[in-house]
Amino acid sequence: MNILLKSVSFLGLGLTVVPAFLVFAGSIEWSTHAILMMVGALLWFVTAPFWIHGDRS
């Protein structure tokens, strides 16, 4: 379960940053990048709290 959650989280981070490189390379439109970043944010915030623990000193 943990591996699945982490995989989805990292997919979310990937969707946050990779589309920007594709916009820079001219492969996708800015609007597609904005939508993918939103999806990335959603995936990250839905899954990451389950495996990142707030054990700050």
């Binding site: 981070l13 940053v17 920007a20 990048h33 904005a34 970043m37």
Partner: protein, 478 residues
């Protein structure tokens, strides 16, 4: 005397769990410090600082060189000034300062600290408000606006300030956890924002970047009414942006948990991600906003880079950094209002913070405020440094106020006050800007404290236990 005792007791009660040195079993490994520094220094205010560098007309080469050198100096300050004392004493700033300066002077320090925290949190609420206002078509404050610009701005800030304050009352720890979750995502949002708008500025390959950076982003020409920044401004700003934390010693509170003193070097993750990547990215965003004739507030520029995800990043960055700041301010303020419940203190602090946030000048003049904030608190860091390293070498006692049961250390108080007066004098007489004053100020504070301690301790007769032995005993522990 009763009043004095009450004040000391008030302070102690608030920090009752922190008065002992951190025990061996509670020490933390490198990963915690990497995460902590990376998270804390990628904040909502980064969306303001990068654009302000553009407004101050720094040239591209000066910016990059200044950030590389200034951030390195900041990391070295954490590693060689703050961390060694933190890991040898295992005490937080509060208890170390109490031993040196006495509870009454610590009380004054706490009040100054709390007010600075309120203003800092206020700027973060202002940043968050610029994201919330976009869907409502709120008129955004410009770079030169100092006072509330519209009814929409006032309503939005009051709304955001109220929500942040209520959430801070309901649970600081939960939001601290949320902040930890948000930070890796936030760093990537900055990278993505900067990269995605480069084609709109005319950068379509890496070779294009440098010419465009010089011609369209960091042009070397300051906006009207803004001081011209050079490589020195950037170097010193990057070095002293967190002056209160490193040479001001506030991060003793964090680094006392480090297994080794060299964990101070992990501050590099915060500096080079937050104070280089994020500042560069937000500078690129504002350059595009200016080119398009759009608004330059944090919300609109983040929207330019990442759409709705950018707005969420600004909101989250502003909120998660304002929250612990309000909490810390509340903690410091509680010394004045010992009979108030924590929620009442937090609500009062939230109120002050929200009123401060109404003035966009706080956000738009953030560089000056950050420099002032560090400068005001730095002298007490120099006092701790001098007390720990220099006094024992002169045969003087460390932690003299504690040893003599003094409630107010006049050498520490005079060092603090006279350093600030000296910095003001240097600024007035020689025109040295506030960004540079931390460096002479630190040496002045150190010199004053050593000299005044000599006078104090020598005038009170021989010292039974030479400080040097104590230093060696403490050094051997780590």
């Amino acid at each position: 005397m009763t009043g004095t005792r009450t004040l000391a007791q008030r302070l102690d009660a608030i920090n009752e769990f922190d008065r002992e040195p951190v025990s061996e079993d509670r020490l933390q490994g490198p990963a915690n410090f990497i995460g902590l520094y990376a998270g804390e220094h990628v904040a909502g205010t980064e969306f303001v600082i990068g654009p302000l560098f553009v407004a101050h007309g720094v040239a591209a080469g000066d910016l990059l060189l200044g950030l590389l050198v200034g951030n390195l100096l900041a990391v070295l300050s954490w590693a060689f000034i703050c961390a060694p004392i933190a890991t040898r004493t295992r005490l937080n700033l509060y208890w170390k300062l109490r031993k040196i300066a006495g509870p009454n002077l610590l009380f004054v320090y706490n009040i100054v600290n709390a007010l600075m925290f309120c203003f800092l949190a206020g700027s973060m609420i202002s940043v968050a408000a610029t994201a919330v206002g976009i869907p409502f078509d709120m008129a955004m404050p410009g770079l030169d606006d100092l006072y509330p610009t519209s009814v929409g701005w006032i309503v939005t800030v009051l709304l955001v300030g109220s929500v942040v304050t209520i959430l801070a009352i309901l649970g600081f720890e939960k939001i601290a956890r949320f902040s930890k979750v948000a930070s890796p995502w936030m760093i990537l949002v900055f990278v993505a924002c900067g990269l995605a708008v480069l084609p709109a500025l005319g950068v379509t390959s890496f070779a294009d970047f440098w010419p465009v950076a010089n011609e369209k982003i960091w042009t070397g020409v300051a906006m009207e009414g803004r001081a011209q920044f050079t490589v020195w401004h950037i170097t010193f700003f990057a070095w002293f942006a967190n002056m209160a934390m490193h040479i001001g010693m506030a991060d003793m509170t964090i680094l006392r948990y480090a297994k080794k003193w060299h964990y101070g070097f992990f501050s590099a993750f915060g500096m080079y991600l937050g104070h280089l990547v994020a500042w560069v990215a937000s500078g690129i965003l504002v350059a595009l906003a200016i080119q398009q004739g759009g608004e330059v507030a944090p919300g609109p520029i983040a929207y330019l880079g990442a759409g709705v995800a950018g707005l969420i990043a600004v909101l989250v960055a502003g909120w998660t950094t304002a929250n612990p700041t309000i909490y810390r301010a509340g903690l410091a303020m509680q010394t004045i209002t010992p009979n108030w419940k924590r929620w009442k203190v937090t609500a009062a602090v939230g109120g002050i913070t929200t009123i401060a946030a109404l003035f966009p000048g706080l956000m738009m003049r953030l560089l000056d405020f950050v420099a002032l904030y560090g400068l005001l608190l730095m002298p007490m860091g120099a006092v701790i440094f001098a007390d720990f390293w220099l006094l024992p070498r002169l045969g003087l006692r460390q932690d003299y106020a504690e040893w003599k049961h003094l409630v107010f250390s006049w050498p520490a108080a005079l060092s603090w006050g006279m350093t600030l007066v000296a910095c003001w004098g240097i600024n007035s007489l020689w025109g040295l800007e506030i960004f540079f004053l931390g460096l002479p100020g630190w040496f002045i504070a150190t010199g004053l404290y050593v000299s005044l301690s000599l006078v104090q301790q020598r005038s009170n007769g021989p010292i039974p236990e030479p400080g040097r032995q104590k230093l060696h005993a403490e050094s051997s522990k780590s």
